[in-house]
Amino acid sequence: MLKKLLSLCLLAIMVLSFTACGTKKDDSEAGNNSDFKVAVIHIGDPADGAGYTFAHDQGIVAMQEELKLSDDQVIRKNNVNDADAVAIRTAMEEAIEEGADIIFGTSWGYMDTMDEMAKEYTDVIFSHASGYMSNETNFNNYFGRIYQARYLSGIAAGLKTQSDMIGYVAAMGIDNSEVTGGINAFALGVESVNPDAKVYVKVTNSWLDPTLEKQAAEALLDMGCDVIAQHADSTAPQMAAEARGVWGVGYNSDMTKDAPKAHLTAPVWKWGVYYTKAAKDAMEGTWKSENYFGGLAEGFVDVSTLSDNCAEGTKDAIDAAKQRILDGFKVFEGELYDNQGNVVCAAGEALTDADITGAMNWYYKTVEVK
């Protein structure tokens, strides 16, 4: 008898909790602004205070302030491994359960799972950084012309170097066109102000590994490089440059506070520009599934404030180049040679965004992998 009573009680509780879920769902569908929630899936931890995830999170913070959202309206899922489909799905399902209306996935590896889930959860908007997948209703991607900012940062490096040897700590090898395109744009920037300088690349094969990044930077410094640029997530290469009393060009976020005596400037993303736009549209119900590809013109990428370490005239040179880009200079304009002596862009032609961020697997002629 007691057993039956107990099971009846449990049943009642279950039914009640179901209804509780149901009512909650109804509330969120009513859709006024205080119910609107934004979720972001981070590969790292914004608490690192610098680097890729931090830069994205700064964008989220900017969006939150701009749209006057409360802290409850922003859901963060941190340290979500982008090679673990189960973890990605769990993180996003949690976010949806908490009431997310739009989900930003910040890492490449989230793409396939987002594509699948966009079909299942048609009333949630999925937005993915750096990928190429999208659909017509609730899934788009966003990325940008960071190569424009890299070109500008190359100018700072080219003007600063004394040995005409610039080191570049790269996360991935020649096959990764996001990295390779960045290196080439940087080298073009260097060449535009210092035709004698060469860019030496060392690859760590890891997006984030401070120890490896530091070792790679030190090996470049041992070769005689006196400016260290990077496409890697930690500040370690900048710290290595500072310890040797030479210079560096960071990435993702302004690293001047980390290496005040070495850092010149860094190509940075202003993710907030997109996050604010997308979240605002989603909140007002005007969101359309269009892929976003921003650049200097949109204020989506830029170089961080030039530090006092920069050579004289850097600011003028960068401002002039910025103006040229705004006036239509494509950065990759022919005639360009790769470091094997092949023509990769014929005279009078220019490479497209798709070529630069998606299909670049050659190094510019002043680049050498060491």
């Binding site: 790292g44 931890d45 608490a47 690192d48 205070g49 610098a50 340290n79 090898g173 060392k202 690859v203 094969n205 984030l208 590994d209 401070p210 120890t211 530091k214 070792q215 790679a216 030190e218 090996a219 470049l220 041992d222 930690s234 500040t235 370690a236 900048q238 710290m239 290595a240 500072e242 310890a243 506070k257 980390d258 290496a259 050498e368 992998v369 060491k370």
Partner: protein, 316 residues
């Protein structure tokens, strides 16, 4: 070029030397502690935290050592007194230590309002500088006498541990406990005490390796996601490579350090091997050493016979 390479190898090998020496002390007393990674993480955090707030290197190292002692005490209590499975306990300690460092690391960042950075005076203390006179010797001066202070500390600890193990009575007792605790017990050695002391000592030394990573390798900035990043596991492998001898650990860590920086010093225009191969090399060599050791069939340089097995007095 070669000198720069060897110099970088020594630096890369130092955290491994700490971890390996610590783990050798632990394993020699009969306990396989797979928590090296976790203890390193805890040492990395506390060493950095204390260094950040006090600006004193000795205090930072002492704090790291102390938290290593504490972490190993947990392990020792569970495995020696409670007879828990050593592998499982060690793995748990790794997970705990990693979480511990990341949890408090995050609150340290909040407290500092951005990524915490060590004071310039602290950075000068731990910077690489030649020892007067000795540092002026060509080649050798750069290779042996121009390091940051922790490199010397690591070597000194390894040498002391080696002398202690091989040349003192206490070391002999401890080896006896590791080889055959029942016999050692019968000979009147306090097995439990010896195990506690050496597991904790080993943990403290491992944690110093973590402090090396956060203070030196991090360049003075706390990196919350990957302060240790697998170096603890490499240390565990290195114990086998060094055949449980702290002296051999010195060469061993140099070899492993050399492999870890090799990819950055091989001229890529002449020799083209995929990077993954360089990452694989240390483990390949370890396998090779293991095979050689098993072929030799000598007791010398093999794992202590009692390692990994809990000693239960009533089962004698």
């Amino acid at each position: 070029m070669i000198i720069n390479f060897l110099y970088a190898a020594i630096k890369a090998g130092t955290p491994l030397l700490f971890g390996t020496t610590g783990e050798i002390m632990t394993e020699r007393s009969g306990h396989l502690n797979l928590g090296v990674e976790g203890m390193m993480y805890m040492g990395a955090f506390l060493g950095f935290y204390v260094g950040f707030h006090t600006g004193s290197l000795p205090l930072a190292l002492l704090a790291a050592f102390a938290i290593g002692l504490f972490a190993a005490l947990i392990y020792a209590f569970l495995t020696v007194t409670m007879m828990a499975n050593q592998n499982v306990t060690g793995l748990t300690l790794t997970i705990f230590g990693t979480g511990f460092a990341k949890f408090f690391g995050e609150s340290m960042i909040r407290e500092a309002g951005g990524s915490p950075k060590l004071a310039d005076s602290f950075m000068t203390t731990i910077s690489e500088k030649p020892i007067p006179v000795l540092g002026d010797i060509p080649v050798l001066g750069k290779l042996l006498f121009s390091h940051n202070p922790l490199v010397y500390i690591a070597v000194i600890i390894a040498v002391i541990c080696s002398i202690y193990l091989m040349r003192t009575k206490a070391g002999l007792n401890m080896r006896a406990v590791g080889e055959n605790p029942a016999a050692a017990d019968a000979a009147g050695i306090n097995v439990t005490l010896v195990k506690y002391i050496h597991i904790m000592l080993g943990g403290g030394i491992c944690a110093l390796g973590g402090a090396y990573l956060s203070l030196i390798n991090g360049g003075g900035i706390w990196n919350n996601s990957s302060a240790v990043n697998g170096q603890g596991w490499i240390s565990v492998a290195l114990v086998i490579f060094a055949s449980w001898s702290p002296m051999k650990a010195i060469y061993g860590s140099l070899v492993f350090g050399a492999f870890s920086v090799l990819q950055f010093y091989v001229p890529k225009d002449i020799i083209q091997i995929p990077n993954a191969f360089y990452v694989m090399l240390p483990f390949l060599i370890t396998t090779f050493v293991l095979i050689l050791a098993s072929m030799r069939k000598s007791k010398e340089g093999s794992q202590p016979a009692g390692c990994g097995v809990n000693y239960f007095r009533e089962e004698r």
